[in-house]
């Protein structure tokens, strides 16, 4: 196998599909054609493949049932088309999110999702992981801004869906299926994204809260404002609660949003423009550093504080980050929390009582893979989708959870 892979893609590297797992050969093709040839080889020889970008989100996936080699997309890194006057950009999957963001910025645009550590992430990796950014309150999840994709299926064939247009309903939106499929259906090789105007002004407001009740009140008051807030984060650590709101956009819009915010958060410190951006990016990149993974809990926005109470009843969470506007709690776990799986089950039970609309629980980058199981009828359909698009089982199973 090694010789055959090297004949196609040159010298192999190695990569672990998860921390602690045995290393696998990593083929890093220089072209889409080489990537397709690797997949054709896998299909013919019955080999199992894991696609990877720069590897920053491999810990989001579970251990594969079996895998023979990994296929890296990082050399497929060029911008294919950038139309600043139409507000769209198309790039190969291996491009770094930092480079893509800079290209968009040079054209006068902001690129969503604003993911943590963009230099460690590729476009393909972000889309395959379905990773949304901290800008989600304003822009929504990443899947909403993918205009089209080109992927390689398990037999090495190329399949396109969508296009490069901001509005288009031609054919099935398969890119919505691929977004978040974590390499279980295809290798994403190219994607087109919608861009948004680069902000003229930016503010970052930061305020402390004495306790959870005060944090909840400050968050609710901020969310009730008629502002198009980019992100609203409430963080809790040993020092207590700290809330951060990011505002950006047209000069006049930001100026109009500033005063009501200051009335709601009278003690807030304000950073502006470059300082605001740097501070927001620091928060984005460092807030969730963890040794034991991040527990993500999703629920209805009105129940996010009840969900936090359920977490606090279940175990002593060292660091918590809430995005109350999108109802997402992220809990950084320490190395000592390695045996979190039983806690997750206890937590699910408590959340089922605390949240009338239900709640989802998953663990990323942890020593164990804890995933949110789909409803049974949906799980069966997902398996059929996987079998239908990858009938030979070229892409490693088991990494998405529930056998997928």
């Amino acid at each position: 196998m090694i010789a055959a892979l090297e004949r196609i893609a040159g010298t192999l590297e190695t990569c672990r599909p998860r921390a602690g797992a045995p290393e696998l050969p990593l083929a890093v093709p220089e072209s889409v054609e080489q990537a397709a040839e690797l997949l054709r080889l896998a299909a013919v020889d019955g080999l199992t493949v894991i696609p990877v970008g720069r590897g920053s989100k491999l810990g989001w996936c579970g251990p594969p049932a079996h895998a023979d080699f990994m296929l890296g997309t990082r050399r497929l890194a060029e911008i294919v088309a950038h139309e600043p006057d139409d507000g769209t950009i198309t790039a190969r999957a291996g491009i770094g999110m930092d480079a893509l963001r800079e290209a968009a910025r040079a054209g006068g645009h902001f690129l969503t999702p604003d993911v943590p550590r963009p230099a460690d992430a590729t476009l393909g990796g972000v889309l395959a992981a379905g990773q949304s950014g901290l800008d989600r309150l304003r822009f929504g999840p990443v899947r909403h801004h993918v205009l089209g994709m080109t992927v390689l299926l398990g037999d090495g064939t190329t399949a396109r869906s969508g296009g490069r247009l901001v509005k288009n309903v031609t054919g099935f939106d398969l890119h919505r299926l691929y977004c978040g499929s974590r390499g279980s259906l295809c290798v994403i090789v190219e994607a087109s994204l919608r861009l948004f105007p680069e902000p003229e002004r930016e503010l970052l407001l930061t305020t402390a809260a004495a306790d959870t009740e005060a944090a909840a009140r400050l968050a609710a008051e901020a969310l009730a404002l008629p502002a198009r807030t980019v992100s609203l984060i409430a963080e809790r650590d040993a020092a207590g609660w700290r809330l951060t709101a990011r505002l950006f956009g047209k000069r006049e819009a930001v100026a109009a949003e500033r005063e009501p915010f200051l009335r709601a958060w009278p003690a807030a410190e304000i950073a502006a423009d470059a300082a605001a951006r740097e501070a927001a990016e620091r928060t984005r990149d460092t807030a969730l550093e963890s040794a034991g993974g991040v527990l993500e809990i999703g629920c209805r926005p009105t129940e996010v504080w009840q969900a936090l109470a359920a977490v606090d009843e279940a175990f002593a969470a060292p660091r918590v980050r809430l995005q109350p506007g999108i109802a997402l709690l992220e809990i950084s776990l320490g190395a000592a929390d390695a045996g979190i799986a039983p806690t997750c089950e206890r937590l699910r039970a408590k959340l089922a009582t605390a949240c009338t609309g239900g709640a989802s629980v998953r663990l990323v980058d942890g020593p164990l893979h804890v995933f949110e199981p789909p409803v049974p009828a949906a799980a069966a359909l997902m398996e059929r989708l996987q079998r239908s698009l990858d009938p030979r089982g070229v892409f490693a199973r088991g990494r998405l959870g529930g056998g997928l």
Binding site: E83, P84, D85, D86, G87, T88, G108, G130, S132, G140, R143, H144, T158, A159, R160, G163, R164, L165, V166, K167, N168, V169, T170, G171, D173, L174, R176, L177, C179, G180, F196, P197, P226, G249, K250, R251, E252, A253, A255, A256, E257, G298, R300, P301, T302, G357, F371, P373, P374, V375, A377, A378, A379, L381, M382, R384, L385, L389, G401, G402
Partner: protein
């Protein structure tokens, strides 16, 4: 249709839920693409998910093709019945199930009319953003099937961005309850994939949608132009200058005349060659700044006159004219072929000119009204379906416009769907492998290909499909070459 089968279905939906006699079937023969029509064997009007599921189980056992229909306002033949098949319509599924203002979502039955949802939310200062021109009649379920748009989707996005959950009845009558909004899907994004699947993946019976807060301020501007070029160039420049209006719509002179002669009369100047209708939403200072910049662009691009709506009533009237434009065309000719193509927003002028030239060359009357800000063109061709030669020329014009759109980097449809009308164009835009991936995806949802057969994917384009068709029984519509 087999009598025992009809009796079994009647026992599920009752007499009011079943249409079988010839005269009452007539209105269901076509959707908004009236030139294509087929009489269904039977129309079922289930009341809820449970009835739909039981009907689908019976139809699955009997191997009967099923076409899903909302209000039948679609314009691509997506709801055209299939010979020998059953139409499942959502006309009796009209309950607003839940409005959760605090969490900003609503759950509705699929047959709820689009505008009724926004009306129901109005006293909570919320609204449902997708606003197709047919919103007085079209249903939320139909909008899901087509991933419908509307003028204000320029800012807010089409239906897919607003659907948070679905209850789907599958091809064999299983109920897939994905109605609870989730931050991210558990597993694959089935809801996102389903939206825009044109009735080929299942029957949506309930929809959970996102509601948005009513904007603090909305300003509406009408800019009057001596030609279409100036209006198109204004839009391209507004987009290129990174402004974010919530709607940018253009109407040409023939459309203006038709609107002003109709009950939708909006006060558009009859002698204008084109008008550009602009909405900007946000805080008062932001709206003022954006409108100021747009005003400067339209004046530089040759606007003869600009008018702001001075009251909510005036704004409503201006928009009623735009949304009533298709209906008003009935004054120009008995039938209207509503084309729907999309191009990069830098190519608007070129495509509008080309459409006009094609119509002139083929001796057709064309009226252009479109979502210019999204690059979504509607070159509407007025014709008389009783004139066979004119129908031929209309279809030829539609084909040429579609082909040119693809050549300039555009696509076949921005919001009406592929349906039957644009089937042929799919092979122009997509390759065999692209279409095969779509076939395979559909097979996972509906392995017998009984749901809306013959639509969206040209089956002869897919070798794998041809082989599969030879190997197993499929719906009648797909056996045809």
């Amino acid at each position: 249709m087999d009598r025992a089968l009809v009796a079994e279905l009647r026992s599920i939906v009752g007499d009011r839920g079943l249409v079988a006699d010839r005269a009452r079937l007539f209105p269901y023969e076509a959707d908004g693409l009236a030139m294509l029509h087929t009489r269904p064997e039977l129309v079922l009007l289930p009341r809820d998910t449970a009835q739909t599921a039981r009907c689908m189980q019976v139809l699955h056992r009997a191997g009967v093709p099923v076409v899903y229909r909302g209000a039948g306002t679609g314009l691509s033949g997506g709801a055209t019945p299939v010979a020998g098949g059953v139409l499942v319509a959502t006309a009796r599924m009209r309950d607003l199930l839940e409005i959760d203002a605090a969490n900003r979502f609503a759950r509705v039955q699929a047959g709820v009319v689009n505008v009724d949802l926004t009306r129901a939310c109005a006293n909570r200062e919320l609204f449902y953003a997708p606003d197709p021109s047919s919103q007085q009649a079209c249903t939320i379920g139909g909008n899901v099937g087509e991933n419908s748009g509307g003028p204000h989707c320029l800012k807010h996005g089409a239906t897919a961005r607003h659907v948070l959950g679905l209850v789907i009845v599958t091809h064999d009558g299983e109920v897939l309850d994905l109605s609870e909004p989730r931050v991210d899907p558990a597993g694959y994004d089935l809801v996102g994939l389903f939206v825009g699947s044109e009735g080929m993946f299942g029957i949506a019976t309930e929809v959970t949608v996102r509601l948005l807060p009513v904007p603090e301020v909305t300003e509406t501007l009408l800019a009057i132009f001596p030609d279409l070029d100036g209006a198109c160039d204004s839009v391209s420049e507004i987009i290129a200058a990174r402004h974010e209006p919530s709607a940018l719509e253009i109407l040409d002179q023939l459309t203006i005349e038709a609107v002003e002669d109709s009950i939708f009369a909006a006060g558009y100047p009859r002698d204008a060659r084109a008008v550009l209708l602009v909405d900007v939403e946000g805080s008062a200072p932001e709206v003022a700044a954006t409108m100021g910049a747009i005003l400067e662009i339209v004046n530089r691009r040759g606007a003869l006159e600009t008018r702001y709506a001075r009251s909510d009533e005036e704004r409503r009237r201006l928009w009623a004219g735009r949304k009533g434009a298709f209906g008003a065309m009935g004054r120009v000719a008995p039938d209207l072929y509503v084309s729907d193509v999309v191009v990069p927003r830098t190519r608007l002028r070129e495509m509008v000119r080309y459409s006009t030239e094609v119509a002139a060359e083929l001796g057709l009357k064309i009226a252009t009204v479109f979502h210019a800000g999204d690059g979504n063109l509607h070159p509407n061709i007025c014709y008389d379906r009783r004139d066979g030669d004119e129908v031929r020329r209309v279809l030829e014009a539609g084909r040429r416009i579609m082909t040119r759109c693809v050549e300039v980097g555009g696509a076949l449809t921005g919001e009406h769907g592929v349906g039957l009308e644009k089937l042929e164009g799919m092979e122009r835009l997509f390759g065999e492998d692209d279409l095969r991936a779509m076939c395979r995806t559909r097979d996972a949802w509906d392995p017998e290909r009984r749901l809306n057969p013959g639509k969206l994917i040209p089956t002869h384009a897919c070798l794998e499909t041809r082989q599969a068709l030879a190997a197993r029984p499929v719906a009648a519509a797909e056996r045809r070459p």
